[in-house]
Symmetry: C2
Subunit: 615 residues, 2 copies
Amino acid sequence: MGKEITSRIIIGGQNPIAVKNRAWTLMDILTDAGVFLESVCGGQGTCGKCKVRVLSGQVTDGQGNPAEPENDGSYLACRVYPLGQVVLADITQRGVTAKGEIGRIHISLEDRAPVLSKSVVRPTYPTLAQNYSLQEMISNVNELQSQEKQDLHITALRDMALLAQTKTESYTLIHLGDHVTAVEGGDTSSVLYGVAFDIGSTTVAGMLMDMNRGEAVAAAAETNPQSAYGADVISRIKAAEKPEGLKQLSDLIRHCLSTLIRRLCSISGIRVQDIYLVTVVGNSTMEHLLMGISPTSLTIPPYVQAFKSLSPFPPQELSLDIHPGGRVILIPNIASFVGADTTAAILAMDQDLTPKLTLLIDLGTNGEIVLGNRERMIVTSTAAGPAFEGAQLSCGMRATDGAIDDISIQEDVLIRTINAQKPAGICGSGIIKALAEMVRRGIITSSGRFAENSQMAQLSPELRSRIREKEGQREFVLAFAEESANGSDIVITQGDVRELQLVKSSICTGSQILMQTLGVNPEDIEQVFIAGAFGSFVDLDSALAIGLIPIQERNRIRSVGNAAGEGAAKALLSHKHIQRCQAIAEKAEFVELANHPQFQKSFINNLAFPKGGIT
Amino acid sequence: MGKEITSRIIIGGQNPIAVKNRAWTLMDILTDAGVFLESVCGGQGTCGKCKVRVLSGQVTDGQGNPAEPENDGSYLACRVYPLGQVVLADITQRGVTAKGEIGRIHISLEDRAPVLSKSVVRPTYPTLAQNYSLQEMISNVNELQSQEKQDLHITALRDMALLAQTKTESYTLIHLGDHVTAVEGGDTSSVLYGVAFDIGSTTVAGMLMDMNRGEAVAAAAETNPQSAYGADVISRIKAAEKPEGLKQLSDLIRHCLSTLIRRLCSISGIRVQDIYLVTVVGNSTMEHLLMGISPTSLTIPPYVQAFKSLSPFPPQELSLDIHPGGRVILIPNIASFVGADTTAAILAMDQDLTPKLTLLIDLGTNGEIVLGNRERMIVTSTAAGPAFEGAQLSCGMRATDGAIDDISIQEDVLIRTINAQKPAGICGSGIIKALAEMVRRGIITSSGRFAENSQMAQLSPELRSRIREKEGQREFVLAFAEESANGSDIVITQGDVRELQLVKSSICTGSQILMQTLGVNPEDIEQVFIAGAFGSFVDLDSALAIGLIPIQERNRIRSVGNAAGEGAAKALLSHKHIQRCQAIAEKAEFVELANHPQFQKSFINNLAFPKGGIT
């Protein structure tokens, strides 16, 4: 362990990190210095996530022996100890920046005015003759600029009192309206990051934004850890009936957000204290649980939410480890069953600004549908179940490495997986494509049943070998055990098809009822947006093929990806966007599907797939 | 320990307390139930503060034997265990309620409108047809009443979401302006307590007020635990230069406030969560340290304070265990050396309202002097040292049990002590009286020196036996070792007299310089208030006799006790008083004594006592 040598660590071109404690692993040292490596096993040496490359210097096993490298020449930071000076390859370049997905966020320059902003001031320091407090010193200089008296918060005063001892010439103020929440010495205005969170029942996604440049920097996602209490929101609301359950669910999601923040910082090489603003979208239950506010009344008639909208609040409220003078903004909810994710999707698609009659369908754990334009918007929610997010299907999975996201059925099955990894399951966009292909090739009939063997005689032997019966239920093999990541067949079962029929009928029926409510016909709808947080974009031809959308005009329909997440990111960048969100939540009218006289009949009609056949 | 018997404790007429854990002492059980007994030794059985009287039932020693009672028949709660049902005498009657001191606070009815108030509402619960959030439900009902949109805080929403599950008919809202900080079920409007704190450098005093009735309920005081870092503020500011020192000093005073809150609750039988508002007065350093804001710039020219005034903030900021929806209000400071205690004293005496030219002298660790009326007020601070609070004198002590607070010197010395306990030392009011008597009898000459033996021939033998020389310094014995509480003589030394001369000259000189600054003469002053937090009221004849006040008209002078503490209590009871405090802090003009051309000369002149002699 090199007891006689003072160690230090150098990463890329950065300042060296002095080693404070010789009993610390490389991972301990990096974590202490604010460089967060991914780790799932908690430093047990089993997950392999904390690999680092040693460019020069030596690492040991802690017993004085040189450490054994991994097969690829790297070392697990949690298992090795530095000996003297060790230079590591730049860790911050290592992560997945998900540029492909995040590159789509683009906010026009004039809209870039975040709720929390920075300004640089050069105040006049008090003298014996002209004596005033530091609070007044800042208020004065700022009054001149903004014509408004500034309220310095306690955190800002703590910063100021320390900075004033060196009589720093210029200060950077962090503003929230006419409040100053923090003060930094010198000009730090170039550093202003924010994180937009999309808390789905199944998946929690975070996007790190440079709020100065209006650009996404990194993205990361995690399974919502509340899933341990059940995939659906109802079982979680049930669990939150007891105070300790509420606390546990609240702590779980808060911890998940903290983990994502650290990961985003690790990926992009910024410090957690460089993050000043966090926006959160999620359905009403997710927002209630996050805030530690009982969601029980959401499930009991008359289905009441505790709040629609909250004022921006300090990160300490959620134990989020961002800048202590930063703020968290919850995007407002529309109704008990139509949450902030829908508000944000409307914002992202500018549905509240457009004169065009627009249908927005957001496919998540639930399916939310919005019909309208800047004049009027009506919304509903379908209890679709989390099928499109990979849950409740025999081989469903989140849209991560190895998820099948595209399928083509010709002589045999061709699959594409995310990041070209061995297939491990099927994600939302893959499921829609697979269904469409199976219907097109006649493997499934329009009623949703697997075709009889006699009906499939014209299929290739390869395809026929993929259709089989198991435990009294027919299924179709997308990938056999020998080619899959986990050594099991990846299949779509008759049960899966039934599940998906319920979902697609809910969506289709919901859209129809909204049209009836507004008194419009499908041909009146000028644009349709299909949104979904499931990673890849929905293949629209497939969505039309399975009858998900009750519109025929293909050219009016666009697949827009994770609109809710995009809306959260947009909200981060401008206070005008947050005001729009509040107006949307006030304005959008909720329509209850279950009580609609037309619902039952339409729902049954829409279960069938449009007539397919062998092409 | 009575393993077979379910124990319970009954106190006075209150509900029984079930015993949850048989290994708990009576003290553990009471503490767990929110009944706080005083304890200094932390349950070691040594301080004797936690005595309880057992009216019926039996207590054991924890080994199965009946516990041994104390001499007075009581038991130490920290040493005994209940056996079966035990009825205790009412503990809440036990404490010192200091009614004498607190009875003076009287606020006129029309002024009683605390910053934090309660209102009872009967909202209309949402229905399926008319659906809105609980937040809107409260905002709506309240909008009707106050014409203002109410902002429900997160804590209030947490309360609401739980209360709504039982569809409580009426709710009590806790308001801070147009914010609702908490919600309670039913009508709790009769419960609204507050605590006013006066944080002196030497003593911290708390007064529990019933904000509904505008009445003081209990008072308690503690030595400021920061004294461990030095009696004066300068050494504490020095200690707070390091971040860990600042944290330590901050934690000490916060913990002291928490202790006083628990004691006040224990004395008066109310729960800590019944306290909704806390006001704090103190000098600027005390307020900076309390907030964890570095006070360093207060001591470095140009002597700058970080803040004058703070918005009301949640108790969590100071880890105060009052109602979580409550608020803390710091009374604003006037200048770096004239703190909120002076602001509060001006409020208490209505100096900001009166047309009469008023001189207010507040004798604390420092001496603050205010001259003026509603038109204009000028203030100054004298570095008097904490002599009047008992520090820096050989036998000085706080105004608690056993402190000599009155003295008469005739043939021999007659002393009065607080609560008629054995004398343990001398407190501020006692010191002023003792000095005056010693000057009057010629024991001290007008120059401040002890008289020569030849000059004291006419004194009685008893008095002469009290004057002696010890370690080259003359001293006067107020109480001999055999009659004192700690077995040592209680004396006033030549050094003590010199110390007190410095203090009284500072005060007198400061008053004169303020008069010069305002261009007024002593006879123009229509009223003089002598305030001081040292327990008993100052004897004005003595104060005049030692030349503390440069005014001759005895009938214009009043001794007003702890005006700062009284101001803090007044501020608790009305938002108008808090607005007045803000106006006072803005308006009062600070005058620096040290640089005044007249100061040095006047100070030396004023060191002498007015001519006394044997009467």
